[in-house]
């Protein structure tokens, strides 16, 4: 395998994860609504893409499993099977297993266990006669070779021997055995031509064939043998690189779109052009193509479809797929092509050419349909007539008409009337404006609204950038911000009103740039929430509980690190909600509740925080029971009196578990204390509200980003220290005698009617030259878990928003230091963690 394999593998793994998330999400939707065709389609596509990618990467097991799962979905899609619980569960299991296999592939490890049983299980669910998804190859490979010029990304035949295996055989073969060598070379050539076309490694293959002749001559044998082997290696490398390139094409295309270079589109257009010309030639040569010609036509469209699917050219894929579908009947029946299909195929070629031209022009297969293609697509029923607005809106994006009706600008009847005589390529909005139903403004507003939603829906699929580069961008922007600040303070600039005005404008741009850069780290909570949907499904099924899981606000965005940090705690809480929160069916009926328990997961913005709320309508937490339990376990004094809120918070104590019995689902040692710790770590908070018999609500309050901190800048001798502004309660300049000594406990000060320990930062951090006399220093009272704390510093320098950076060192340091930030003068300041200043 070539060395760039790792990069492609990485790309494949990242893509597959996304596709698996999509599949899982769709399957869960399908479990709830077995007739959801959109979900079937989405899942099918996702698995199909994974299969194709795995084929290229030579990940046979992933490919195999994805293939059967895809077959099953295909059966569901075509109505040959019904998506009952059996099928959904099997497919969910397949997704889980695929995830494991993908993870293993990422680690380059051999996956544990096997999936043979699972594959059998899925096969057993397949309807009796699954259609051949790939046509059998008719005889005469030479004749057909040109029609298979391009690899069929989505259709690796199962009997294919990997190239390296054949190459390995070649190496192992005795050079004197010329016949055997020739046979190996031919097999290699066939394997390459079959999947990659005759041009894939034609020079190497030709060279090998010539050299095989030379093997007969003992004098030349050794030399020829060496050359054959190196040619074989080159051929295999070249072909595999090409396959990998194609596998990575979707990502490459999206990245290339940003950089302007578009080699894959060029390739695609060239190949598509060839295939369409070839199909056209067949059609024009024969008014009634015979079965073998139909076969060839079929393959042309099939290949165009495969490539388009791979590169994400959705419309071309859809059209080619539809044409291919129409041809299937004639091909399978072995009949001549009927006249109407002949015409359809020709029209299809025109339409595809149109889309290809559009793709070449705009670089994307999105946007308004070109008229010819629109007409053809409408004819095929791909572009619904009712929609008729000539728009290609992705799933989840409302149509202009719907938006207009929603805003009350126009009636549904008007829309229908207008779209009835809408010509292809004409826009509904224009039509309505012309006919005076709406104003131009209303049309534009609706279009803007639609674009906004479309951007949201498609937002994630634009470009994939490595986190490393993103961090670097944030770093550089931070640096820019600092140099900018330095420049603006230069006397030469401050003395010139004109210059300082320009610099001021620049400062605003730089700040905008910074917030943009930081926003790049944000991800929607969707993926995290989808994981929870799966957990609810699995847990509910295991416990035999019926759960109605509702998600809200999964488009709320949080910092990537936050999304990762809360995934585990949330998972635990969700399982808890299903396990401990929601009663079993009998209990619910007895309590007069519907049999299905409701678990809701909602996210919303609140100021500069994000709130994630998990609520259930279960039995709720009983404060009295919690207190009794905590006393019994010796976690609180026997005479303690707690408020309800305090009682609820008991569940965060290590060693506290409310489950009477430890079930298989939750309560395996990891408790709510771990949840709390994880949330604390990202500066979040968990709050509980609960009512006995009515249910509980857990609210996780998170900062918007972990990357930026509003800090108070403090000075201790020559060092600058930063403390999160949210933890500062008050600043005190103590009078003489206000700071007292408590025997054995050091200095304390009375603040907010309690004694608060005083920590002289200069002393605990060993900073020389710090002010020792508290009355000449400043005390900052900080809020922290386990009571307030006052830190003694020399001076408060001000407030500053800083970008939090890790210390970049794994060497130990004082636990009270949480990180660092770059200050206005370019030096590094240290950020304090008030909670851990007194940890030792």
């Amino acid at each position: 395998m070539p060395s760039d394999n790792a990069e492609f593998l990485h790309e494949f793994v990242a893509e597959s994860r996304e596709h698996l998330d999509t599949s899982e999400h769709s399957l869960l939707r399908l479990t709830r609504e077995p007739g959801d065709a959109e979900a079937v389609q989405a899942c099918f596509r996702a698995l199909h893409t994974i299969k194709g990618g795995a084929g290229f990467m030579g990940l046979d097991r992933i490919q195999g499993l994805a293939h059967v799962a895809e077959q099953l979905l295909d059966a569901v899609r075509e109505g040959r099977a019904t998506a009952g619980p059996g099928i959904c569960d099997a497919l969910l299991a397949a997704v889980t297993r695929l995830r494991e296999l993908v993870e293993a592939a990422e680690q380059s490890a051999a996956p544990e266990g096997d999936e043979d049983g699972l594959i059998e299980r899925i096969r057993s669910l397949l309807p009796a006669a699954p259609p051949e998804d790939y046509p059998a190859t008719p005889g005469g490979s030479a004749q057909n070779a040109t029609s298979r010029r391009i690899g069929r990304p989505s259709s690796p035949p199962s009997d294919e021997t990997p190239l390296d295996a054949i190459a390995g055989e070649l190496v192992a073969t005795d050079p004197a055995d010329q016949a055997r060598m020739a046979q190996c070379v031919e097999r290699l050539a066939q394997a390459i031509v079959r999947r990659d076309g005759p041009d894939a490694a034609s020079c190497e293959l030709a060279g090998m064939r010539i050299l095989v002749e030379s093997l007969a001559d003992p004098a030349q044998r050794q030399r020829a043998h060496t050359d054959i082997l190196s040619l074989a290696e080159m051929a295999v490398n070249r072909v595999i690189s090409a396959r990998l390139r194609r596998a990575a094409a979707p990502a490459a295309a999206s990245l290339a779109a940003a950089s302007g270079a578009e080699p894959t589109i060029t390739d695609f257009l060239a190949e598509t052009g060839d295939l369409l010309s070839r199909a056209e030639a067949v059609l024009l040569a024969a008014p009634h193509p015979d079965p073998s010609q139909v076969e060839e036509l079929f393959r042309c469209f099939h290949t165009v479809k495969g490539m388009a699917s791979y590169l994400g050219h959705g419309r071309i894929e859809a059209l080619a797929h539809a044409i291919e579908g129409r041809l299937t009947g004639a091909r399978d029946a072995g009949l001549q092509l009927p006249t109407e299909l002949h015409q359809l195929a020709l029209a299809g070629i025109d339409a595809l050419r149109c889309l290809a031209t559009e793709l070449k022009r705009s670089g994307t297969d999105r946007g308004p349909w070109p008229p010819t293609a629109a007409r053809f697509a409408t004819e095929l029923g791909l572009l619904a007539e009712a929609r008729g607005d000539g728009e290609d809106v992705p799933l989840g994006v409302p149509r202009i008409g719907d938006l207009l009706v929603e805003t009350g600008s126009v009636s549904r009847a008007d829309i229908e009337a207008a779209s009835a005589d809408l010509k292809p390529g004409e826009r509904l909005g224009d039509k309505l404006v012309e006919s005076g139903k709406i104003t131009r403004e209303q049309a534009e507003q609706a279009a803007a609204k639609q674009a906004e939603i479309a951007a949201k829906v498609q937002g994630e699929s634009f470009a994939r950038v490595s986190i490393g580069r993103l961090e670097e961008l944030v770093n550089l922007v931070g640096e820019l911000l600092i140099t900018q600040a330095m420049v603006s303070q230069e006397p030469e600039i401050t003395s010139s009103p004109r210059l300082s005005q320009v610099i001021g404008r620049q400062a605003r741009v730089v700040r905008d740039l910074q917030s943009l850069a930081l926003s790049l780290r944000l991800v929607p909570l969707r993926a995290t929430f989808q994981k929870m949907a799966r957990a609810v499904h699995d847990t509910g099924r295991k416990l035999g509980k019926q759960i109605d899981f509702q998600i809200q606000g999964d488009d709320v965005e949080v910092d990537r690190t936050l999304a990762e940090a809360i995934a585990d705690p949330l998972l635990h809480m969700v399982r808890n909600a299903v396990d401990h929160g929601v009663e079993d069916a009998a209990g619910r009926t007895a309590a007069g509740k519907p049999a299905a328990g409701v678990v809701r997961l909602a996210a919303a913005h609140s100021g500069d925080h994000v709130l994630i709320r998990l609520s259930d309508d279960g039995k709720g937490l009983d404060p009295a029971k919690l207190v009794a339990k905590a006393k019994e376990k010796g976690l609180i004094p026997i005479d303690a009196r707690l408020s309800d809120a305090e009682a609820f918070n008991l569940i965060f104590l290590p060693g506290f578990s409310t489950a009477a019995a430890v079930t298989a689902v939750s309560g395996r040692g990891v408790g709510m204390d771990v949840v709390k710790r994880n949330v604390d770590r990202v500066k979040g908070r968990v709050e509980i509200a609960s009512e006995v018999g009515r249910g509980s609500t857990f609210t996780i309050r998170l900062p918007l980003t972990t990357a930026i901190l509003d800090a108070m800048v403090l000075r201790v001798a020559d060092e600058r220290l930063l403390v999160p502004i949210t933890s500062v309660i008050e600043a005190i300049r103590p009078a003489a005698g206000q700071v007292g000594e408590v025997m054995g406990r050091g200095r304390v000060i009375e603040a907010r009617r309690q004694l608060v320990p005083v920590v002289a930062l200069g002393q605990v951090f060993g900073i020389g030259g710090a002010e020792a006399d508290p009355t000449r220093a400043v005390l900052l009272v900080l809020e922290r878990e386990g009571g307030a704390l006052a830190i003694q510093v020399d001076e408060i320098l001000g407030l500053q928003q800083v970008v939090i950076k890790p210390l970049g060192s794994d060497r130990p340091h004082h636990p009270g230091i949480a990180g660092s930030a770059i200050m206005g003068d370019g030096r590094v300041g240290l950020i304090l963690d008030p909670g851990r200043l007194l940890a030792d």
């Binding site: 770093n475 550089l476 951090f765 950076k805 210390l807 970049g808 060497r811 130990p812 370019g826 590094v828």
Partner: protein
């Protein structure tokens, strides 16, 4: 340690630098860049060898004092003082504070000798070989050992 022969070849190109009166070398391939002395922020509670952290174009990286690492007292600041930024593995960068940079020198197999088992002023485990050329002796360091946690 079995014998003095280095397990791997130590020949190659080295960046040499001076700390106190000795000249040391580290493999040039591990060197990212050389930067002038920056204001270093000490990190409380960290080991003595860690002089602090600096801002390297927006990235915070640790700086290790080679004087402390070699068991020497801190020197007087000098305009020649620099920080050599090296690859710390896993994409991390670490700065090495040295007195001054000397040169980039090539050492072939014949120019190098296994480290002596005695007579060195520094911890011998850090030394990959002694490099001899132009009648000078340079101590060629094993960077991984130099960076090893202390």
């Amino acid at each position: 340690m079995t014998g003095n022969a280095p397990a791997v070849s130590v020949s190659g190109t080295y960046l040499t630098f001076q700390v106190a009166s000795e000249e040391y070398g580290i493999e040039i391939l591990k060197v990212r860049e050389i930067i002038g002395m920056l204001p270093i922020t000490p990190v409380p509670g960290s080991p003595a060898v860690m002089q602090g952290v600096v801002n390297l174009r927006g990235k915070v990286i640790p700086v290790l004092s080679m004087r402390t690492r070699f068991g020497l007292p801190p020197g007087e600041p000098h305009p020649h003082n620099v920080v050599i930024v090296v690859d710390g593995g896993d994409g991390t960068q670490i700065g090495l504070a040295v007195d001054r940079v000397r040169e980039v020198a090539k050492f072939s197999e014949v120019d190098t000798e296994p480290p002596p088992s005695y007579g060195l002023n520094i911890d011998a485990s850090m030394v990959a070989a002694l490099g001899k050329s132009q009648n000078r002796i340079r101590i060629l360091l094993d960077l991984a050992k130099v960076l090893a946690a202390i």
